[in-house]
Every structure is written in C-alpha cells, then in structure tokens.
Amino acid sequence: MKLDILKALNTERAARRAAVVVTDQDSGAQRLVTHDKIAADPLKELLEAHLRSGKSGMEETPQGRVFLTVHVPPTRLVVIGAVHISQALAPIAALLGYDVTIVDPRTAFASEERFPGVKVIAEWPDKALPPLGVDRYTAFVALTHDPKVDDSALLHALERDCFYIGALGSRKTHGRRVERLKAEGASDDKLARIHAPIGLAIGAVSPPEIAVAIMGEITSRLRLTAEGKR
C-alpha cells in the first residue's frame, strides 16, 4: 500500500467517514475510494453493496479480480430518555455493536445505577447533543414522551443525516409532535424521516419487546436500500 493512500485512509477513518480500498489481485495496484467519490466510481454498485453490508471481500470485475477492503465507521445509537425501554435497548444495541449514549436531563432517571456501564449524560439535549457529533452512522431515538425533552432533540437530529430517526408515541401523539416541529421551522421532507410509531410492527408490548422492535427497524435501515433490497 502506498503511504499516501494509507495516510488518506487513516484521515477518513479518524473523521468517521466511509472508504473502500480497491486492490487489483494481479498487479497489486491500489486505489482509495472515499465516500464522496463512490457515486462516480465505475464499481459504484459493488462498492455501495459492500458499504451496506460493512464486509470486505473479493469480487470479479470486467477489469479483473479485485479485493475490496471496506472501512465503515462503528455505528452509534443516541437515545433521548433514560426510561424503561432504554434499559433494555442499551444492552441489545451494544450486543449489535453500537456505541450507545443516553441523554436525559432528569438525574433521577439518568443514573449509573439504572444504566451500569452505559454512557449516560444527565443534561438537556441542547447542551448534550452538539459535542456528540451526530452523523450518518448514528441512529437516533427519542423515548421520553415529553415534548420538552424530545422536541429539541429531534430538531437537532433532523439537521443531521443520521441513518435512522425514531420517536416514541402513537400516531395521534406523533401528529401533534409534527405540528409543533413544523411551527419550529422543520420541513415536511425532514419530518417524514421520523419513524413513528417507533419500531417494526411485531406486536411488541413489554419494554424489552419494544426495544427489539426498535433495533429491528434500525437494522433494516442500516442494511437495506430504500427499495428494501440488500
């Protein structure tokens, strides 16, 4: 590997941006495709499929056998609300490889005792969220059910390209929330990105079941295209 490719790759990784190294297996020739160059690349479809799966692999192309080394930043989950569902969501998400952060200004909820070993920030979203650097490899869920906490957090998430945004609440609750967020200046397009009612429709009743429904929905957004294909 050329040192300049290695340096550029490490820069992309440090900035939490995806990149693929394409290595020709016959000649050893190599190139780095950064996330912003993928759409214009001759191997676009292959690269996109590998980025979605997060897996490196060998591929036959018209130009010969190439090895694709896929570098995708670790996924993160930001949870607004140190609530009962979050207590189940945090360990399930950690098991799926997510780096989990929980934000809740209510110190009685956001305690180490309730969330052993989890990163919990007992601050209002306005203060807690900006330093987190919410990005496209972040899934974002609002679970407090309290507009005072959830609304400003959702407005923050809508301004960033997180791959998943979900909010707890019935259709009716969500309808009222959409009206409030619209009044705060959020566009219809952006508001349509919020998954609500949150989670896959699996008939979840208990908090752990709701957590499973949420992680199922997040996984589908991570791994499937908009058309529902792998």
Partner: protein, 109 residues
Amino acid sequence: MDSLATETDILKAAEDWKAAGRGVALATVVETWGSAPRPVGSNLVIDDQGNFLGSVSGGCVEGAVVTEALDVIESGKPKTLEFGVADETAWKVGLSCGGTIRVFVEKVD
C-alpha cells in the same frame, strides 16, 4: 466494537511505523473457506525487525506470515499466501474441520 477499534490501531501503527523510518508490510485476509478464525479484511502489520500487531488467524499462521512479510519488505513485491488451518488447532477450539485462508501481503512504501 473491539475488532474495529483494533483495526484502527493497526492501520495507524502501519502509518506511524513507516513515518518512523521502519520497513513495513501489511497483511490482509482476503478469502476464507470453512471455519476460518478471522474474518475477511482482518489486518496484520509487520516491520522489518519482525515486530507485528494485529491478527490474521488468531495465532495459527502469524509466524509464517511474518517470515513472508520480511521477504515482501525486502523485494517490494506483493504476495498472496494460502494456509490451511491445522486440524489439530481447529479441534482445540471446537471446530470440526480446519478452514483455509488466503492472505495478501504488501509493502507500505
């Protein structure tokens, strides 16, 4: 995720070792068959003194990869190595048969 965190360290180490003036090679698992211990994309970085960081097989074939890597650092020519993971080793970790891995070794220059 541990594996990714480790991987970051490995590629950063490759850059740092090179910047420090050492001869450096990077080994990558490019194909696996059967029950291979490390997934495709796993890295091992090796310097010209035989120091190494990372893993391509969980310890079974690292020695051989390091030896070949020294050769790659010397010649500058990439190599593809193939290993069958020894049955004995495979049994020890509870696998019914040994896997096979292919490792691409290249110089960082």
